[in-house]
């Protein structure tokens, strides 16, 4: 089964009314500025400190990017977006967010650079070894009872996580009957993932992670050192389907026994997290597993009651209703 790919399929049609509603509403607890606040902001008792104005500029920038280019960052987590937007402004020696907006809207190469800044693809093999230990212990026994296993890595970046899972499943004798769907919004990382070549200088770190993750062989069996990188064994790739998929706009593509989405939702605001959790919920059967990043939790997802914790610490959950 192929993953549905709909590049740039922003649901623009239904969003017409968005024009007046420039940004997702603030979370209910955030205060609407009063006339007094605005007067105070205009006075700016501290020179240069205009948090409300900055928020408006960022919302206008994101709205412009969405309407002109179709990339939808409007519901991404604000603090982190803000930080990366300022990095771009400083790198290009601009002064204001509005100046960046001018450049981004009139110069596609500027959009490309900003896009790279906004997409954080940091990843590692066997990141959080404890997660893989728990997965072997608590999830693998259940998977053994299935004739065919589907695993979805949502937001897989350059693929290290998917290869780690392939290694684990091979060691557990389950890989032959597994299909791993590994998806990311960013085509560039998907292309890299398909190559299966990772930086040599990280192999030492990955070897340690692998051992602490409960690896049973010698890690060097899995790759060939070449002069420009470590090429992972082609047999690991054979059951992985890498494809572009946008968690914000694209739909579910298959029912999966396991969904892993680690360190992706932290970049979304609460509303968007809840929408994506709905997508995951709908893509899992009863007793399907959901694995999140080590500091992410279902607490604010709106679906907490639909899952039971399998390993609280490692954020592995099982759908129960």
């Amino acid at each position: 089964m192929a993953v549905q790919v709909e590049p740039g399929s922003g649901d623009r049609g239904g969003e017409g009314s968005r024009a007046v509603e420039l940004a997702p509403p603030d979370p209910p607890s955030a205060a609407v500025p009063t006339a007094g606040d605005i007067a105070a902001a205009a006075e700016a008792p501290v020179p240069g400190y205009h948090p409300e104005l900055e928020r408006i500029e960022i919302q206008l920038l994101l709205e412009g990017i969405y309407r002109h280019y179709g990339f939808d960052f409007r519901s991404y987590a604000y603090a982190s977006l803000r930080r990366r937007i300022w990095k771009r402004i400083d790198a290009d020696r601009l002064k204001t967010i509005s100046a960046l907006q001018d450049r981004v809207l009139h110069d596609p190469s500027m959009m490309e650079r900003l896009l790279l800044d906004l997409s954080i693809n940091v990843t590692a093999m066997f990141r959080d070894p404890g997660f893989y230990v728990a997965f072997r212990r608590d999830v693998v026994p259940a998977l053994r009872t299935y004739p065919f296993i589907r695993i979805w890595h949502a937001g897989c970046s350059t693929g290290e996580e998917a290869y780690s899972m392939a290694i684990l499943l091979e060691e557990e004798d389950l890989y032959d009957r597994t299909r791993i769907y590994a998806t990311d919004i960013n085509e560039v990382v998907i292309r890299k993932a398909k190559e299966g070549i990772f930086p040599l200088d990280r192999m030492q770190e990955y070897t340690q992670n692998y051992l602490r993750a409960g690896g049973t062989r010698s890690f060097s069996e899995y790759y060939t050192a070449m002069y420009d990188g470590a090429l992972f064994a082609p047999r690991l790739m054979r059951n992985i389907v890498f494809s572009q998929h946008n968690l914000v706009t694209d739909r579910s593509f298959a029912e999966c026994n396991v969904i892993l989405c680690r360190n992706v939702l932290i970049y979304f605001d609460r509303n968007l997290q809840q929408r994506v959790h709905k997508l995951f919920y709908e893509s899992l059967p009863i007793y399907g597993y959901l694995g999140l990043g080590s500091k992410e939790s279902l607490r604010f997802s709106g679906f907490e009651d639909n899952y039971e914790p399998v390993d609280r610490r490692e954020k592995i959950y099982r759908k129960i209703q």
Partner: protein, 198 residues
Amino acid sequence: MIAVGASWGGLKALRAIAHGLPPHFRVPITFVQHRSKESAGLRDLLQDCTALIVCEVEDKQPIMGGYIYLAPPDYHLLVDGDEFSLSVDEPVRFSRPSIDVFFESVAERFGPEAVGVVLTGANEDGAEGLRQIVARGGRAIVQDPRTAESAIMPRAALRAVPEAHTLPLERLTPYLISLATSDESMRPRRGSNDEARA
């Protein structure tokens, strides 16, 4: 929000602060301590010496009074409205969590209601963030370098913010308490788990 950054030698200093805070302390306080990915026991070591609840932050956790928040290892910590948020962006000056990243977001969010505290450490993280807290009307406190296990970080902070209040460790907590009781603007406006204001 009181934002505290520490690196080398920080455990002792953070324990001293946690120990000195009274159970009714209602200003949210956050510790960002450099540490390795694997170190998991810090929360418990801090909890052992305070009546406040010590809590390692999870993504989107609401910010409330009555807690000591601790930045988790291997993530950057930021404040986002009335919540914390996390990121795995590249380390900044080899650190994740980065004190600068946290302080900058605290400066942006809390402006004059922010207090930045730089403690012992053997690098220069925190100096730039402290400068931003002050630029946005917040307060700066630096551990007296002569009393710090490593003086490099407090010295760098003092170079960036020469007007920062400099205090030896044992006078730091009493000072934070006096700030919290005298300064109405530092009290959380919402979300305190103790709505009754003194």
